[in-house]
Every structure is written in structure tokens, then in C-alpha cells.
């Protein structure tokens, strides 16, 4: 990990803060003065990973920009649960775009600010995986290609959740959704489809691309802060478990994010100008089964007719990530 490790014997940088640390050494989330960009009363499900991820990202960005921040939000869960008329949970300037044009609107806001000479005000675009990976993908690629001065954040919960849990281009193989049921010989979502937008973003050779999860707050905050030190197009892909869509306990949101990283299924890394610069190493490696079992969307792999063959294919995906990104700590490889 690239961020500053604090050598505190008790909890190091694993927890949000710790009374033994100076306030400046704690995460943004541990400070009483955090901006709570997404405030209470929003209608996200209990234990929503996306609500958590959005607050983590925007509070860190607010701090990095001294509060000079505008957010543009594509349609999706995050928009729906935060702004039912006449209420808003946003405590920063916030614009809602269409489902497909969030990146273009964000690019436009950045252009307008530049025209006004207000380049001190920074722009964040945000969307779920549907708005990023599928529907907004064309405008996103355009924003990257023009190198517009926007940090675009994808909160990836691996599906279209508020419309009733449909498959997206970020849904993992074997997962069941409303339109990838556990029926037939290849239950759930098929293997061999979908895409990695972080890798596609890197192919645009934009200044900064990073992935993160809601389980590693310090790492996430560090990446947001770092992204804000660049001008031009930047992309942050945050893994946010969805208790509803995944059929998981609401208390397991952070745990599942942690397991996604510790199994190797979700590689956590940073890249600058198209090249990977840092990867977060696995700390306590576990088999993919530990990650899959608590989720109902994978229950069909473990039921009356278990599918060890499918689990093995998922394990192979994790192993490929481990090899490809070098996720095991030195000496374990």
C-alpha cells in the first residue's frame, strides 16, 4: 500500500482512527468535523455499501479541495435514494444528470468553471456501475479521451439494483440476478462476458486510475486525495457491496468488500498514465468460497446440487488476478 502506514502497535491504519492518534493522523471519517456530504435520512437500504462509499469519497474530496467541490450524479440508486422530492441528502453542490450522460455533464461543468476562471472549484462525476460500465460508457470514454478535468467515481455494486437487480457489465459470472437466473447448465451470469472499466480507463492513458473498496477506508481516502492532486481525467472504481442485490446480511457489507479483496476477486491497485504503480497486497488470503457463501446470489453453487466446478472457475479468476497484479505479499508468490 502506498499510503502512509502508521506504526501504532494496536490497530495501525486498519481502523478509522484511534484515540491514541493525533486528529491529523486519523482518517477523514474519524474526525468530528467531516463534511458528511451525504447526510442522514437518505433512503438507501440498511447497510448500503454505496451510501457508505459515496460519503467516504466525497468527504475526502471535500477535504482535499477545501470544500470547493461540485458533484454530478448519473441516475441510479445513489441518486434515487438521496433525492426524493423535496428532500436532499447532499451537503455539497450536486447536479443530477440522465442515466447515460453523467460524464458529459461533469465535463461540461468543468468547462463552464474554466470559462469563468473558477478552476479552483473541482468536479466529481459519480455513478453506479450501470451508469458507468454500460449506459454512460460512451460519454465516459469521451471524457477520458478529451482528458477533461473531472474525477469520475464508479460505485460498483455489480448490477442494476434499484430497478430490481438486473445484470450489468460489472456483474460477476455465476451471480444470479433478475435476468440471469440459476437455471440450466450454466447457472447465473455467464462466464466470458463483462468488462473491467479500470483497465479500459488505463488504456486511455489518463493521468490517474485507481480501484478501492469500502473495507479499506485509509486506502480509499488516500486515493481520492491523490486523485485531486492531478488535473485532467481521473477514474476511481470503488467496490461497494449491495445487501439487497447480493442477498447478503446488512452487517456484512464491509466484510464482503474485504473478502473480495482478500480472495483476489477484486484487485485493488493504482495506475498513472496507463501503468500500474501500486497494488494492495492480500493480507490474509482466503479461498473464494469464503466470499461466495454468505451471498444468496451464489447460493445455487452450494445447495442440494453443489457446483464445485463453477466455484473452481471463480477461484481461477481470482488466481488470475493474483498472478496478473502480483497481489500476494513478497515471499508468498
Amino acid at each position: 500500500m502506498a499510503f502512509q502506514q502508521i506504526k501504532l502497535y494496536q490497530t495501525g491504519t486498519f481502523v478509522a482512527g484511534n484515540r491514541l492518534l493525533d486528529p491529523e493522523q486519523r482518517s477523514v471519517q474519524a474526525r468530528t468535523g467531516r463534511s458528511n456530504s451525504l447526510t442522514s435520512g437518505h433512503r438507501a437500504c440498511r447497510g448500503c455499501g454505496e451510501a457508505l462509499g459515496a460519503r467516504y469519497v466525497l468527504d475526502a474530496a471535500m477535504r482535499a479541495t477545501d470544500g470547493n467541490l461540485v458533484a454530478v450524479n448519473s441516475t441510479g440508486c445513489l441518486e434515487v435514494f438521496s433525492t426524493p422530492y423535496p428532500e436532499s441528502s447532499w451537503q455539497l453542490p450536486w447536479l443530477h444528470s440522465l442515466f447515460g450522460n453523467g460524464p458529459a455533464v461533469a465535463a461540461g461543468v468543468a468547462a463552464a468553471l474554466r470559462a469563468q476562471g473558477r478552476e479552483d472549484i473541482r468536479v466529481v462525476g459519480q455513478a453506479g456501475d450501470g451508469g458507468t460500465v454500460d449506459i454512460g460508457f460512451g460519454t465516459l470514454s469521451g471524457m477520458f479521451e478529451r482528458n477533461d478535468d473531472v474525477l469520475f467515481v464508479c460505485y460498483d455494486n455489480e448490477g442494476y439494483m434499484n430497478t430490481g437487480v438486473q445484470r450489468s457489465g460489472a456483474t460477476p459470472p455465476a451471480a444470479t440476478t433478475a435476468n440471469t437466473k440459476a437455471l440450466g447448465g450454466t447457472p447465473g451470469n455467464v462466464f466470458g462476458q463483462g468488462k473491467s472499466v479500470p483497465l479500459i480507463a488505463m488504456a486511455h492513458e489518463i493521468p490517474y486510475v485507481a480501484t478501492a473498496t469500502v473495507a479499506e477506508l485509509r486506502d480509499l481516502e488516500y486515493k481520492v486525495e491523490k486523485a485531486m492532486t492531478f488535473r485532467g481525467a481521473r477514474y476511481l472504481h470503488v467496490f461497494v457491496p449491495c445487501p439487497l442485490g447480493w442477498g447478503a446480511a446488512s452487517a456484512d457489507t464491509v466484510k464482503l468488500a474485504r473478502l473480495a479483496k482478500e480472495t483476489g476477486l477484486f484487485p485493488v491497485f493504482e495506475a498513472e498514465a496507463g501503468t500500474v504503480t501500486e497494488v494492495s497486497k492480500i493480507r490474509r488470503q482466503v479461498p473464494v468460497e469464503d466470499y461466495l457463501r454468505p451471498q444468496k446470489r451464489f447460493a445455487h453453487l452450494f445447495g442440494d446440487q453443489p457446483r464445485p466446478d463453477v466455484v473452481a472457475r471463480l477461484q481461477a479468476r481470482a488466481d488470475r488476478n493474483i498472478a496478473r497484479f502480483g497481489l500476494l505479499p513478497e515471499g508468498d508468490e
Binding site: V15, R26, T39, S82, D252, V254
Partner: protein, 542 residues
């Protein structure tokens, strides 16, 4: 219609939407019982004092005061306690138990260095309590009774206070400077200590006091019948150690055999080595793993070159020679004689076969019950005779300094209640903070620091303390290995992980948190991600 450009509707904050109404379970900060606290015979709040010590600096004194609330001997504990707290410590399941005992020693030594003291904060009650015996149990009771405002007199048979801490445990394990300092602190509370005052008849002195605490220990070395020749030199371990402490060097010869497998046997053998024996051999009738001696004492004895003869009983002693019979363990683990004998050279034989209590002072005390040579007491430490309490080695329980201290404390609480006629304040015993209630992901990988020991040469010839203390930075790191089982330690995780901002962090340095029930949806994330298991979900009444 004076809205900003492009704004046509009034907006309100979503805080108007009290999502707490969705909740079926609520998160509540709780305190579970850390296993270390649960295991400490003196009832220390280990987790709580480690929490203070973790801060370093001014935290050490607060830690010390928390220990002193239960146990007046932190520096002694940090040397002689068998630390069952560490055996119970949850961290043992992660890497290695927290070195609680070494931190306790550091804090206790720091108190002596800095001269920290305690004082009586309550007005005198006018009640007079007699304590018989100035061992750890009597001293502990005297301390707690004095803090409660009672007038305490200790009558002690010996020439100095400390009991077996002075006349049993050798100096190489407990420095007398430390013992003196911690005993003096108790006397400074106004406790009257009458030395060389053996109580021969409790009934004769009892009426002068409102209550009595008996803590005469077990002073008589048990003798076994072993046929001995004229020239045989046989002595018992407790007398030998007592004589040594009183300045009489026992004559042991070059080759010393010690009979027994307990801690006293270890100390007798190690002492013999220090007094110049070229060979000290412990003879024990069972196997090594069945020895009652504590594992660390066995190891230290082995390190010092003490030899062991397992599965052996002594049949006969003659000048310079022992006849030893080999034993075998039967299916139940009981040693059985085999008839095979051999001879062993030994100039003297030290018996370390346990101790008995001299109960002659209790003759004629009405209602008092003696069973198996010890005095029966209830859970309130009261004997069958109202107003007469007892604790330590003279009551049926495991015998250790820490148990004795715990008895003294418990007795003081009940004596206090008995004197005032009120029920003692109840002691809360919440559910245990078991390992599975923790989220250990969050703890740093932190290997345990072990205390340095004196080099071998000085262990062979001197009575200098063998186990040394940690320096400040090591003690601090060791304290910080504590996972704070079952109790909040202010890591801010709950405040961080709530997706609904329903955890309120109070802006005080103590770092306390509240659940905002207006917005807590009851997801349980704070519970799951609390490293120490200090939050629990409880069902709402719907």
C-alpha cells in the same frame, strides 16, 4: 420568488426523514467481560488499566490507580503472579497472549520510582478490625478495610511483614526493596502493624474488635515418613527458605536432593544452587507434565542447571546416600511402585511436600468449621463464627499470592457490609468477551515482547532478580497489543462505517460515541466492524 438562478422548488434536507423508524434491532454500546479480568484472582480490571497504560505518559499513573483499586501490590504481582490472565487472554488465539504481567510490573515499578501514593478518602467509621497475619491476604484485607475508613490492627507472628512473599519466595524472584515499598504504602494508610505478636488464642483477643480477618497462611512444612539413618541430613523447604531470609545460611552440602514437584521444590533447588551446591536434583514421583510447579518456574530451574529425576520416590535416607524407587503411572495417572530401586548420592534432602496450617489459635472459636486442615468459609469469606472471616492459604482454594490478595479484597468488602449491616454492593459480571465476538482483522500484527533475564553466571551465584523488567517503550508496545476485548477503546470505526451517519462522536478527548436512534436503521455494520466487540444488537419491541 427570490430563489437562486435555475432553482424553482424549495428543498429540504433529508434529515427530516427519520429512517430510524425502519429499525427492527438497535445497536447498543456494551461492556463485555474481558477474559483477562475474568481470570484474575485478585479481580483486577486488566483491560481497563491496560487501556490507560496504552496512552503512555500520564496514562501510567491512571493505570496504576486502576490496579490499586483492586490490588495493592502491582510491582509484586508483576514478579510473582502466575498470571492466569495471560492464559485466558484472547490474543493467544491470534498470535501470543498480551504480556499483562510485564506491563503490570512496569506500572508498579514506575509507581515506586515516582512515589505515587493512595490515601483514605472517607471519614473514619470508628470500627475496629483485627487482621491476623501480615501475608498478602492479611495485608490486602487491611488495605481495603483502611480505604473504607476502618481502624485496622495487624498482629503478625514474624519479625517482618510479607508472609510467604518474604519468608518463602526467594529474593531472586522478588526484590525485597519492592516488597518493602508496597507494604509500606499500606502501613502509611494508618494501619497498625504489631510484629512478633503471635496470636495463640483467638477467643482471648477477639472481643476487643468488631470483626476479625484470619490470614495465617500455611506455615508448617509437611513431613513424610522416610526411614533415615543417624547421619542423614533432612530438612523442610519452608524452614530452609525462612531461615535463609532470617540470615541463617542452611548447611546443605555439595549435592542436594529436593523431594517434591511444586513451586516450593523449584525454589528450594534453585536456592541450593545459589548457596553453592554443585548439584541440585529434584526427585518427583510423577512425570514432568504432571508436576504442579508452574511451567515458567520449571523452565527457569532447568535453565539454572537444576536436575530432575521423574517417576521416583525416596525409600530411605542415609548419610550421603538416598535409596530411590522407580514408579510407573497406571491408567488413571496414579504412580505405582515397581520395586526397582537405585541409589543416589546426596549430602542433604530437602522436603518440599506442601504446607499445612497451624490452627491451634482457633481452638474454642464457636461455630468455626475445619475441614481437611483448612478453615471452611462461605462465598463472603466468613467462617462459621459470625464476624470472623478468613482467606489465603488457610482456606480451601488454590494457594497463590494473587488468590490470597483476592480473598483479602473480597473479605474486606463483606466485612465492611457486615459492620454496616448493609448488603455488599453487587459485583457486575457481564457475559464473557469471547474470541468470536472480536473482529481481529483490525489489529496490527504485533509480536509479543518477552522480558529479558539475568545472565547465567549471575544466576548461579547471586540472589539478584532473575527476570528483569521492560523499558518504557517495550512496556508501552506490549500494552498496546491488548485488543480491549468487549470494551470500547476509541478506534472510531463505528463512527466511520455507519452508512447513515447515525453514530455520533462526542467531541471529548475520551472519544465516546452515541447511536442516533433517529437515523440508525439497525444494519449492524458498527457491530460487525467493531474490533473489540463492544457493540451489540438488541431487538426492538415492535
Amino acid at each position: 420568488m427570490d430563489k437562486p438562478f435555475a432553482i424553482t422548488l424549495d428543498v429540504g434536507t433529508s434529515r427530516a426523514n427519520k429512517t430510524g423508524s425502519w429499525r427492527t434491532e438497535r445497536a447498543v454500546y456494551t461492556n463485555r467481560m474481558p477474559p483477562c479480568n475474568d481470570a484474575c484472582p485478585a479481580g483486577e480490571n486488566v483491560q481497563a488499566w491496560l487501556y490507560e497504560a496504552e496512552e503512555g505518559g500520564a496514562g501510567y499513573e491512571r493505570a496504576w490507580r486502576k490496579i490499586m483499586a483492586d490490588n495493592p501490590f502491582p510491582a509484586i504481582m508483576g514478579r510473582v503472579c502466575y498470571h492466569p490472565c495471560e492464559t485466558a487472554c484472547n490474543r493467544a488465539q491470534l498470535d501470543e497472549a498480551v504480556g499483562i504481567n510485564s506491563v503490570e510490573r512496569f506500572v508498579g515499578d514506575e509507581a515506586i520510582r515516582q512515589g505515587w501514593t493512595v490515601s483514605v478518602e472517607v471519614p473514619p467509621t470508628g470500627k475496629r478490625v483485627l487482621v491476623i497475619g501480615a501475608g498478602p491476604s492479611g495485608l490486602s484485607a487491611a488495605y481495603h478495610l483502611a480505604l473504607r475508613g476502618h481502624t485496622v490492627t495487624i498482629k503478625e507472628a514474624g519479625p517482618m511483614a510479607g508472609g510467604m512473599m518474604r519468608f518463602g519466595i526467594p529474593r531472586y524472584r522478588l526484590s525485597r526493596d519492592v516488597l518493602d515499598a508496597e507494604v509500606q504504602r499500606i502501613l502509611d494508610l494508618g494501619v497498625t502493624l504489631e510484629l512478633d505478636t503471635k496470636v495463640g488464642d483467638l477467643e482471648a483477643v477477639r472481643q476487643d474488635y468488631d470483626a476479625v480477618f484470619l490470614a495465617v497462611g500455611a506455615q508448617l512444612g509437611r513431613r513424610a515418613y522416610i526411614p533415615a539413618g543417624e547421619a542423614a541430613h533432612v530438612l523442610d523447604a519452608v524452614s530452609m527458605l525462612r531461615d535463609l531470609e532470617s540470615g541463617e545460611k542452611p548447611l546443605l552440602g555439595r549435592r542436594v536432593a529436593v523431594y517434591g514437584g511444586g513451586n516450593t521444590a523449584m525454589d528450594a533447588a534453585r536456592t541450593a544452587k545459589r548457596l553453592g551446591a554443585s548439584e541440585a536434583i529434584v526427585v518427583y514421583r510423577r512425570t514432568k507434565d504432571r508436576m504442579p510447579a508452574h511451567e515458567s518456574e520449571l523452565r527457569e530451574a532447568e535453565d539454572e542447571g537444576v536436575l530432575f529425576k521423574w517417576l521416583s520416590t525416596i525409600k530411605q535416607v542415609d548419610g550421603g546416600r538416598l535409596t530411590v524407587e522407580r514408579m510407573e503411572l497406571d491408567d488413571t495417572g496414579f504412580p505405582r511402585a515397581t520395586g526397582e530401586v537405585e541409589e543416589l548420592d546426596a549430602d542433604s534432602l530437602v522436603l518440599a511436600l506442601g504446607q499445612d496450617t497451624d490452627l491451634s489459635l482457633l481452638d474454642g472459636v464457636p461455630g468455626l468449621v475445619v475441614e481437611d486442615g483448612v478453615v471452611a468459609v462461605g462465598s463472603d469469606m466468613m467462617t462459621g463464627c459470625p464476624g470472623v472471616f478468613a482467606g489465603g492459604d488457610m482456606v480451601p482454594h488454590e494457594r497463590s499470592v494473587t488468590v490470597a490478595v483476592g480473598h483479602g479484597k473480597r473479605a474486606a468488602r463483606h466485612i465492611d457490609a457486615w459492620l454496616s449491616g448493609a448488603a455488599p454492593e453487587p459485583v457486575a459480571r457481564p457475559a464473557l468477551a469471547t474470541f468470536d465476538t472480536l473482529n481481529t482483522w483490525y489489529y496490527s500484527d504485533a509480536p509479543r515482547a518477552h522480558r529479558p533475564v539475568l545472565d547465567r553466571a549471575r544466576r548461579e551465584s547471586t540472589f539478584d532478580e532473575v527476570v528483569l523488567g521492560h523499558d518504557e517503550s517495550t512496556a508501552l508496545m506490549e500494552a498496546r497489543r491488548c485488543m480491549s476485548c468487549g470494551n470500547c477503546f476509541g478506534c472510531d470505526n463505528c463512527y466511520g462505517v455507519c452508512p447513515d451517519n447515525a453514530v455520533i462522536k462526542l467531541d471529548d478527548p475520551g472519544g465516546k460515541y452515541l447511536i442516533d436512534l433517529d437515523y440508525c436503521k439497525g444494519c449492524g455494520l458498527c457491530v460487525a466492524e467493531c474490533p473489540s466487540g463492544a457493540i451489540q444488537m438488541f431487538p426492538e419491541r415492535i
